[in-house]
């Protein structure tokens, strides 16, 4: 169990989050913050490297590895991958964690980049998106791992990865038809 999840501040926030969320998600959180962490949740050892398994259509799933040799590290997998009920809960969490304040409603982009365009600045695998949210990123993406814990972050990842990536059309045209 990560100590960060036991701090009084986090207890307050967890309460706030529970109040803000629909019942289904509260259940997810009850599991997440329960005494026994589920085996799949990598809370004790933060992931340092993703299993370089790209989902179909995901570009640049991981960093380039020098000499083609990926560094060793614990494998990380999304315990909710493809779970539509969790994805729905993640949509509510996206709002209640104020993600939409920077990334726009439905993750369509505002001062922060679009998360719904199928393109990813720091890699689009579940594990890479997890790292972005858990640890934060430069230029002001806060680390949410402390307030949400690994489970909460996976709920968000599952939501974001459920957004249907639009067809990648690189051309924007203003020619009169």
């Amino acid at each position: 169990m990560s100590p960060v999840q036991r701090s009084p501040r986090n207890l307050r926030l967890r309460r706030a989050v529970r109040l803000a969320l629909p019942g289904a998600l509260a259940l997810v959180f009850a599991g997440s913050y329960g005494a026994t962490p589920p085996a799949a949740a990598p809370v004790a050892a933060p992931p340092v490297a993703a299993a370089p398994v790209a989902a179909p259509g995901v570009r640049n799933p991981a960093h380039l590895a020098a000499d083609g040799m990926a560094p060793p590290g614990p494998s990380v997998r999304n315990p909710y991958h493809g779970n539509t009920k969790i994805a729905k809960a993640g949509a509510a969490l996206f709002t209640s964690m104020n993600c939409d304040g920077c990334h726009g409603g439905d993750g369509s982009g505002w001062v922060g980049p679009s998360l719904a365009d199928g393109r990813w600045r720091y890699g689009g695998s579940d594990a890479a998106v997890f790292r972005s949210i858990f640890y934060g990123r430069p230029k002001g993406m806060p680390a949410f791992g402390g307030v949400l814990g690994a489970r909460g972050v996976w709920v968000l990842v599952t939501y974001l990865k459920s957004l249907p990536a639009p067809p990648d059309v690189p051309t924007e045209s203003w020619r009169r038809r």
């Binding site: 709002t95 369509s108 001062v111 679009s114 393109r119 430069p138 230029k139 806060p142």
Partner: protein, 592 residues
């Protein structure tokens, strides 16, 4: 013990101030002369240049003479300074400061200053990583870094003299405004109305950067520097107004940021500045008037004491910041000469106030307004249309005008010409729907709670540049613009007014008629403010930045080209802006 010492210092300060006030020199003539030393050119924030070499007859012969790429893409708000034949330019984050030698061909750099600015501040900025400029005083160029620091740099050498932490990025505070200097006080505030900050204004010592006083804009009287016998708001009375006007202590995260412009009246020895929106955007979470958000505050520069305050938009439910410029002008209203303060508010009304008391003399819409029908001059309050009141309980409220981008953006300061007695300002013609939602305060994350799509107001054009009579509250002339008009204005004694457009035209128009005299396509949308100065050769020049941004709604996502991992559909209210401009960062100088 500490309180007693503070009192002693205070009474000393008050005494000193009385002496200063008695010995105050006559106010300098309005406007800027050959140099441009402060954000608006003068203490009164007129953005008026007394230079008259460029006039309505020769303005059609203007031409671009010099350009410089700042190397930064992003909203280039603010304006250059020109002091002692040197031009100073501050960029958006990472806030590089350039000093150009105007005496040598090609204007080579004397030096550049590259501060270490925390990149996290970008994500803690609501709208774009902008900077609204620097101020010159006592041989120093003083400006804010986005990450909550004020720096003073030696104007001659570019060496840093002092650096003071004034704000905390971890709390959602960023620093975008241009500092303002009165005597030996440097006045600074912080942005963060979208991050639930506890808004304030601070005064730093000009010589050391030490924080002399901090005055909050909301909350308890002690924090607001409200002192018995000194604070006389024109329409309300009582104590703890800034705390009691909020339900359940919600002032603690109530916003009231300071990111606009400050002006100063040496005769009254008062500074004037506007405060931003109340947070969160869901007004149901903070029942009450929410003072002093969306307000103008008048303070004494010496000790920060609040002298009067007036709230333009009580219980702000539409994100109507009042951070736009407070322009000091001496007007004749119905035959009576008045020391006035004129302000174009995001809420669509232009206000003419008595700047000694804060009483409203004239308040009329300068843009299309639906949220209120008028301002009641008896109590100073807007007559709000109840159907336009927003909040979670009200659901999706439609057809609110102006939109939360404002009848004018506070980033686009107006100008005043004492020659025509007219004010000149950009305006937006946008309306919005507003669906509020509940939010929880999470330190360092956005505290907003609204979905608010925009649409064009009546007529279909998204903006206009107008001339305004502050004595009568009427539009004198209006130049419609295809897009929201987002640049500041410059008025000159040559009777020529300058502004830029979002699709990248820099324009000179006749101050009396609004007739277009000259225009040039400057490479990116203009959201900065033109200035005028006299070059070493004795000739008049005009300078302006090109660099669209400052608000991601303007960028519509698709005007960006610098990030292949961030592609978006154009915003539906401004679909084709990307066909006419893209991001930039260019300094332009024009002349005859």
């Amino acid at each position: 013990m500490r309180a007693a010492a503070a009192l002693a210092i205070l009474s000393l300060a008050v005494g000193a101030q009385r002496i200063l006030a008695a010995a105050a020199p006559a106010a300098p003539p309005a406007g800027a002369g050959g140099e441009w030393r402060m954000p608006a050119g003068d203490d009164a924030a007129t953005r008026f240049s007394r230079l008259q070499q460029i006039d309505a007859a020769n303005a059609p012969h203007l031409r671009p003479l010099w350009t410089f790429s700042t190397g930064v893409l992003g909203g280039h708000e603010g304006q250059p300074l020109v002091v002692d034949d040197t031009m100073y330019v501050v960029t958006p984050w990472p806030n590089v400061l350039y000093a150009f030698d105007l005496t040598r061909p090609g204007y080579p750099l004397k030096w550049k200053y590259r501060p270490d600015v925390n990149a996290d501040a970008i994500g803690e900025s609501c709208c774009d990583a902008v900077n609204r400029g620097a101020v010159f005083a006592d041989g120093k160029i003083i400006y804010n870094l986005l990450d909550g620091h004020t720096v003073a740099v030696d104007a001659a050498t570019g060496r840093r003299i002092w650096k003071t932490k004034i704000a905390d990025v971890a709390d959602g505070e960023t620093t975008t405004m241009a500092p303002f200097v009165v005597r030996d006080r440097v006045l600074v505030g912080a942005s963060g109305g979208e991050f639930g900050i506890y808004g304030w204004l601070k005064a730093l010592d000009l010589h050391t950067g030490r924080i002399v006083w901090t005055a909050h804009n909301l909350g308890p009287d002690a924090g607001m520097l409200v002192r018995p016998g000194i604070f006389h708001p024109p329409y309300v009375s009582g104590t703890e107004l800034g705390a009691r006007s909020w339900a359940h202590g919600t002032w603690k995260h109530g916003g009231a940021p300071v990111w606009g412009w400050i002006s100063y009246d040496p005769k009254l020895d008062l500074i004037y500045y506007g405060t931003g929106n109340a947070g969160p955007y869901d007004a149901d979470e903070r029942a009450g008037d929410d003072r002093w958000t969306s307000s103008v505050l008048a303070r004494r520069p010496e000790d920060g004491a609040l002298v009067w305050a007036y709230q333009f938009t009580p219980h702000d439910s539409w994100d109507y910041d009042a951070t736009g410029a407070m322009i000091l002008a001496d007007l004749t209203i119905a035959g009576r000469r008045v020391d006035a303060l004129v302000h174009f508010d995001k809420n669509g009304f232009a206000y003419t106030l008595d700047r000694a008391t804060g009483r409203v003399l004239v308040a009329k819409p300068f843009a299309h307004v639906t949220w209120a029908t008028s301002i009641d001059l008896a109590d100073g309050r807007p007559v709000v249309d109840p159907a336009m009141q927003t909040g979670v309980a009200e659901g999706n409220v439609k057809g609110i005008c102006p939109s939360l981008e404002g009848g004018v953006s506070p980033s686009s300061p107006a100008a005043y010409s004492p020659r025509t007695h007219l004010f000149y300002t950009s305006t937006n013609n946008l309306c919005m729907d507003y669906a509020a939602s509940r939010v929880s305060y999470l330190k360092g994350t956005p505290y907003i709670g609204v979905t608010s799509p925009y649409m064009a107001g009546p007529g279909g054009n998204l903006g206009a540049f107008i001339a305004w009579n502050g004595a009568t509250g009427r539009i004198a002339w209006k130049d419609p613009e295809r897009y929201p008009s987002w640049s500041g204005a410059l008025a000159t004694a040559g009777n020529v007014v300058f502004y830029g457009t979002l699709d990248g035209w820099f324009k000179a128009v006749d101050a009396t008629s609004g007739k277009l005299l000259y225009r040039f396509k400057v490479g990116s949308g203009v959201v900065g403010n033109p200035i005028a100065y006299r070059g070493p050769d004795g000739r008049q020049y005009v300078a302006v930045y090109a660099g669209i941004g400052g608000d991601w709604a303007l960028l519509a996502g698709d005007t960006r080209s610098d990030d292949p991992t961030d592609v978006r559909a154009p915003a539906d209210f401004i679909k084709d802006i990307a066909s006419r401009t893209s991001q930039g960062g260019i300094v332009w100088i024009f002349g005859l």
